[in-house]
């Protein structure tokens, strides 16, 4: 079902055997069968069997599973096929099966980029669930850590630290510097340089003294 992810998340290669398993089917004529088993290790209940299908080339041949998870795909002429296990919940790795005109079988990994590369796999086929399919996106939740780790917040916190804590440390160190700093602070705290928020608001709201506007603010809160 999901071959791309198999490359993104490198999953342990299940069966890497360099031995060619040659099983000659004693079928008459020129049709052969592919046999195998499907196993879901992570499932406790057996109900996955009912909605699992084994398909060849996307659905040209379909097999349903027997109660023990085994399957037989009948009536395939010689050729090369991609065998997949389909289940809405679990994901399986697909296998390519080559059947010669004499009925020799070979199972190998599916590789679309380099189709000629042969990495044989075990035959009769064994499919094991690799992981559960994830169809959904995680909803973003508001977390305090996310907020704090936000680069914007970090860039604001750092200058704050510099402004608030560094002067204190310097104060303790040197009285002259402290004086200098104080005079700077005074200049900073000069009323005329910093517009009074409440006064401004009071001005907008129709005049009045600062004490009045303060009471207004209280009401607002």
């Amino acid at each position: 079902m999901n071959r791309y992810n198999s490359r993104i998340f490198p999953v342990f290669l299940l069966f890497i055997s360099k031995v060619l398993t040659e099983i000659v089917e004693s079928e008459t004529g020129d049709v052969f069968k592919i046999e195998g088993r499907v196993e879901v290790v992570s499932a406790t209940e057996k109900d996955w069997i009912a909605n699992t299908q084994v398909v060849v080339d996307g659905g040209d041949y379909v097999a349903h599973l027997r109660g023990d998870g085994s399957f037989v795909l009948n009536g395939l002429p010689s050729g090369t096929y991609v065998v997949e296990v389909l289940n809405p919940t679990y994901l399986f790795e697909a296998t390519r099966v080559d059947i010669t005109s004499k009925g020799k079988m070979r199972a190998r990994r599916v590789n679309y980029l380099q189709p000629s590369v042969v990495k044989t796999m075990h035959y009769p086929l064994e499919f094991r669930d690799r992981r559960k399919a994830n169809y959904f996106q995680k909803r973003e939740q508001w977390k305090i850590t996310d907020f704090l780790m936000n680069p914007m917040v970090l860039t604001m916190v750092l200058p704050l630290v510099l402004i608030m804590i560094l002067p204190k440390m310097m104060n303790a160190a040197d009285p002259e510097a402290q004086k200098e700093m104080q005079s700077q602070m005074k200049a900073l705290n000069d009323k005329s340089s910093l517009p009074d928020m409440s006064e401004m608001l009071a001005g907008w709201l129709g005049g009045g003294s600062s004490s009045k506007s303060g009471s207004k603010q209280k009401q607002r809160r």
């Binding site: 079902m1 071959r3 009912a50 996307g58 379909v62 349903h64 599973l65 027997r66 959904f136 996106q137």
Partner: protein, 975 residues
């Protein structure tokens, strides 16, 4: 350095936002999507049998759509369903049930046994031989065997495990058609028929020894003669030409005994048929003589046929056994929409009064076709029944208790061939609003009066709504219940963003339905038994067009369906209002049977004065017709700008025509011919794909990395034609399949592009939109599925930017192309459509693994560079990777597997970001998708409270700190 870093960062975010461009949140499941699962037209049906109880809790069915399923008879839901391969291999030829096991024959040679409870496969065997005839299976209860007949052999296998006991080869299987199998009295009888000459009866012992082979002369036998085994030991054929029944005793096949049907008081017609019986009855067989006459016949010991029960007026009947007695159940059409059910005890001809009921049977189901009945004892000792009834439109209804319909399954929806989504009408108020601003001729005074009037009426409705709200909540929970369809009539108004629509679906049995997109419930239905699909490149096709949308109040919207008449093969047309479902005036109830064959039909791009787009049809005498016929003069007036093209599939010729007026008839005149034939390769046209008429193109060009604009080649008259053929083998080389892709202007016949893929084969899946074409094919050399993209550009300058004309078409466009590996096989694909075309496009691919996958178009971009440079990064193209990414997060139908998808329909909504889709096939799935995420509406999880509280607390904090600061300053002053 910094800019490169920034670019990479932007690119990464861009990529990641594309990769997860569409994924649902888990809590959104089912909130705006729904899936409906179907089975198809039933072929066999069995009631569940449980030892010691009445059973009947399940109904096991096999269908024409290669499905075996178990239905819950209480509510009609599917308990389990097995879907097999499309085509001959997956066809369910026969299904038998003995109370413990279900045995089926698939594709003529696969015999499989299923557990009725869970639907699990018990065993499957594969038989030799060809699959040209239907397989038959029968139980041999006394020896625990199943006998199976293929076109060449008879097999006996153990019912328990499928182990083969014996096989018998049948002689002359190339000429004799072995199609009947019967087990009777410890012997297996096989009947082979040769049309026009003889019938061969082979009897085989249960140990596999052939006891006798007897040919019997049967001169009356034709290919379509309906024969069946009656009462387990007679072969009986209905021969309507000689109006007689022919009976052969299988136990001693001496010769056919003919009984004239006139002797029995009936005339056979071509429509005379056996009424399908699922449970073998010991007594009698039901024959439908004509549409409203059914008889129950039996065979006497001398081989003569006699009538047990004559049921005049009866549409359909079935024999049921219950507690050792046989009953016949019949249905009669007694009223306009009413069937009457009668039940008689056989032999005594007593009518059973408990089962005499009237059934409400809707007209739009057509004739009843088949039924199966189950009788049981109720607790109070009375007789209870369940009746599953299949109608002509493939709907199945379950009738129980006093003729009530317990449930209905709309199996015709598994046969959808054309889909269209129509906007719901606006409310009366909004319509007035449209009216007010729609006209430009009013003077100031009238406009002012209108404004006041509208506002008054708005106020009035507002007050009325408030009163209603105070009086109590009106049905909002009813919709959740789902079953009640009548309570929602005032829901048929457009919602704020036009997200809810009416889905009009045309199906191949001839049923046309209107469905609410919000929950998939049917609003209205029409049944046109004569309407059949056209055959287009081997696929079923019915044309469905919206002639007038809902936007033209007070003119009602109108849709038109054009198909092929089943009987005559000529055109068959039906026009209706898609909202109410009413047919337009002067439209016959069964549709309009046109007196000509349709060669080509399309909707004109222009409105007439009633905002109606005319349907133009070209018949096989090259005469142009329109629907409505009054539009002909309009078409005549605009004939200079109308061109028609035709494709001959077999000769691979494309012809272009213009309209000419001669002797007051609108005819066509050949303008151009393009020959795509290649005799050596035996090429056939397989697809012709034009652009969607609903499409809006927002951006005329594409901004490149150097800030220049590459203009798109936006020729609306372009179609994509594909041909497929086979390069024959030579002495040096094996033969290989070939695909050709042509892009041509159908007004002038100008060939814009021709591409060729060797060692590639179909089925081709094509999307044609804006200035690009995407197609999927199978690469036979590398044995993988691939997708290719073509994009056409005019270059850095734009010619005829305002109005496009094919006659002054720009120079040969730049065609860029690239191909990619798409790792999964697919059923079909399409692209999203949005209101204004601003949103990026997604490719929707219905995969054969059951998923519907969204792939952003940006991945299928021929400008993806092999080595990324700063300029390409600036442009925002991803580096070329041969494999297209497929991941489960992109499956819009999450775990809701869809089988045998035949098409995906996409439709824009009032929201630019959102597009509605409907996938149809065996299952139906509807959802809405946002290719570029929901950029025009706040997300549902937008945290209003958090933001409001943060702003408020900031305000509060600023005042408090300001107070504190001023106090501190004051204190400092006092020092």
């Amino acid at each position: 350095m910094a800019t490169t870093g920034g670019c990479i960062f932007i690119l990464c975010t861009f990529l990641s936002c594309f990769i997860y461009s569409y994924a649902l949140y888990e809590d959104q499941v089912g909130s705006f999507d729904w899936r409906q699962q179907y089975i198809g037209r039933y072929k066999r049906a069995y009631w569940e049998q449980v030892e010691g109880t009445a059973g009947g809790k399940r109904l096991f069915v096999s269908s024409e759509k290669n499905v075996i399923a178990s239905l819950n008879t209480a509510n009609g839901k599917i308990v389990w369903r097995k879907v097999f391969e499309e085509g001959r291999r997956g066809e369910v030829d026969d299904l038998i049930y003995n109370g413990e096991i279900l045995v089926s024959v698939l594709g003529g040679r696969r015999v499989a046994a299923w557990s009725p409870g869970s639907g699990n496969l018990l065993w499957e065997i594969f038989l030799d031989g060809s699959d040209k005839h239907s397989g038959v299976v029968k139980f041999v209860e006394e020896s625990g065997l199943v006998v199976a007949l293929t076109s060449e052999k008879v097999y006996a296998v153990q019912t328990r495990d499928g182990a083969q006991k014996w096989e018998v080869e049948l002689s002359n299987s190339e000429t004799v058609r072995y199609s009947k199998l019967q087990v009777h009295d410890g012997k297996v009888y096989v009947v082979g028929m040769t049309a026009g000459s003889e019938v061969k009866v082979i009897s085989i012992g249960l140990d596999g020894a052939v006891l006798s082979t007897k040919p019997v002369l049967a001169g009356f036998l034709r290919k379509d003669t309906k024969c069946r085994i009656v009462e387990e030991k007679y072969l009986m054929c209905i021969c309507w030409m000689s109006s007689s029944f022919h009976v052969l005793n299988l136990k001693s096949p001496q010769g056919f005994v003919a009984t004239s049907s006139q002797d029995l008081g009936h005339d056979l017609t071509e429509q005379s048929r056996w009424v399908e019986q699922y449970t073998p009855s010991a007594r009698g067989e039901v024959i439908q003589i004509s549409k409203d006459r059914t008889v129950l016949v039996t065979v006497n010991d001398n081989g003569k046929v006699s009538v047990i029960k004559d049921l005049p007026k009866s549409a359909i009947a079935a024999v049921v056994s219950y507690e050792g007695k046989d009953y016949i159940v019949s249905l009669e059409q007694t009223g306009h929409e009413e069937l009457t059910m009668n039940m008689y005890e056989l032999g005594t001809s007593n009518q059973v009064s408990e089962a005499n009921h009237k059934i409400h049977y809707m007209k739009h189901h057509g004739q009843p076709l088949q039924m199966t009945c189950l009788l049981a004892q109720r607790k109070d000792g009375k007789m209870a029944y369940k009746l599953a009834l299949l109608s002509e439109d493939y709907a199945v209804q379950l009738v129980h208790k006093s003729g009530k319909i317990a449930w209905r399954r709309d199996e015709f929806l598994a046969y959808a061939v054309a889909v269209e989504m129509v906007d719901l009408p606006v409310s009366e108020n909004q319509a007035k609003f449209e009216d007010e601003f729609g006209s430009h001729e009013d003077n100031v005074m009238t406009m002012f009066v209108k404004r006041v009037k509208t506002q008054l009426s708005q106020l009035q409705t507002f007050i009325v709504q408030q009163i209603h709200r105070l009086q109590g909540v009106k049905h909002h929970t009813v919709i959740e219940e789902g079953e009640d369809e009548d309570t929602e009539d005032d829901d048929l108004l457009r919602d704020e963003f036009s997200l809810h629509k009416i889905i009009v679906i045309v199906t191949s049995p001839g049923k046309i339905v209107g469905m609410k997109s919000i929950n998939g419930h049917l609003l209205w239905q029409h049944f046109l038994p004569e309407l059949g699909p056209f055959d287009r490149f081997g696929r079923e096709k019915v044309l469905l067009h919206v002639q007038r949308t809902t936007a033209h109040f007070p003119n009602p919207p109108q849709c038109v369906v054009l198909g092929r008449n089943r009987a005559s093969g000529r055109g068959h047309l039906f026009a209706f209002d898609p909202i109410s479902g009413h047919s337009v005036s002067q439209m016959p109830a069964g549709g309009l049977h046109l007196p000509y064959n349709i060669q080509q039909a399309f909707l004109l791009g222009e409105w007439d004065e009633h905002f109606m787009k005319a349907l133009i049809m070209l018949d096989d005498t090259f005469t142009v017709h329109t629907y409505p016929t009054s539009a002909l003069s309009f078409v005549e007036k605009h004939r200079s700008s109308i061109y028609i093209y035709l494709a001959d599939v077999d000769s691979s010729l494309l012809n272009g025509y213009r309209l000419v007026l001669s002797q007051n008839k609108l005819l066509v005149d050949n303008v151009w011919t393009v020959n795509l034939q290649n005799q050596r390769q035996n090429i056939k046209i397989t697809n012709i794909v034009a652009k969607s008429a609903h499409e809006h193109i927002y951006s005329q060009g594409r901004v490149l990395g150097d800030r220049s604009v590459l203009y798109k080649y936006l020729n609306p008259n372009v179609v994509v034609v594909t041909t497929e053929g086979e390069e024959p083998a030579t002495s040096q080389q094996k033969g290989y399949p070939v695909i050709n892709v042509y892009v041509l202007d159908v007004i002038t016949g100008h060939m814009i592009f021709h591409g060729n893929h060797r060692k590639a084969q179909g089925p081709l899946h094509i999307i044609h939109s804006e200035n690009w074409v995407v197609y999927g094919y199978f690469n036979t050399k590398q044995r993988r599925h691939e997708m290719a993209v073509l994009e056409m550009y005019e270059g850095k300058n734009q010619s005829n930017a305002t109005v496009f004309s094919s006659f002054t078409a720009p120079q040969q466009p730049l065609v860029m192309r690239q191909s990619f590996i798409f790792p999964l096989p697919m059923y079909t694909m399409t692209t999203t459509i949005t209101e204004k075309g601003i949103t990026t496009k997604d490719i929707l691919v219905a995969l054969k693994n059951g998923g519907v996958f969204t792939l952003p178009k940006a991945f299928l971009d021929p400008r993806r560079p092999l080595t990324p440079t700063q300029e390409t990064q600036e442009e925002g193209t991803f580096p070329y990777i041969p494999e297209l990414p497929v991941h489960t997060e992109g499956m819009i139908n999450y775990n809701q597997t869809l089988y045998h998808v035949r098409g995906i329909h996409t439709s824009p909504t009032g929201l630019e970001s959102t597009s509605l889709i409907l996938c149809y096939g065996l299952d139906m799935f509807h959802t809405r998708i946002q290719p570029s995420k929901m950029f025009d509406v706040l997300k549902e999880d937008f945290e209003h409270w958090l933001i409001a509280s943060v702003v408020l607390s900031m305000l509060v904090a600023s005042f408090i700190t300001q107070k504190l600061a001023s106090r501190k300053a004051l204190n400092r002053q006092w020092k």
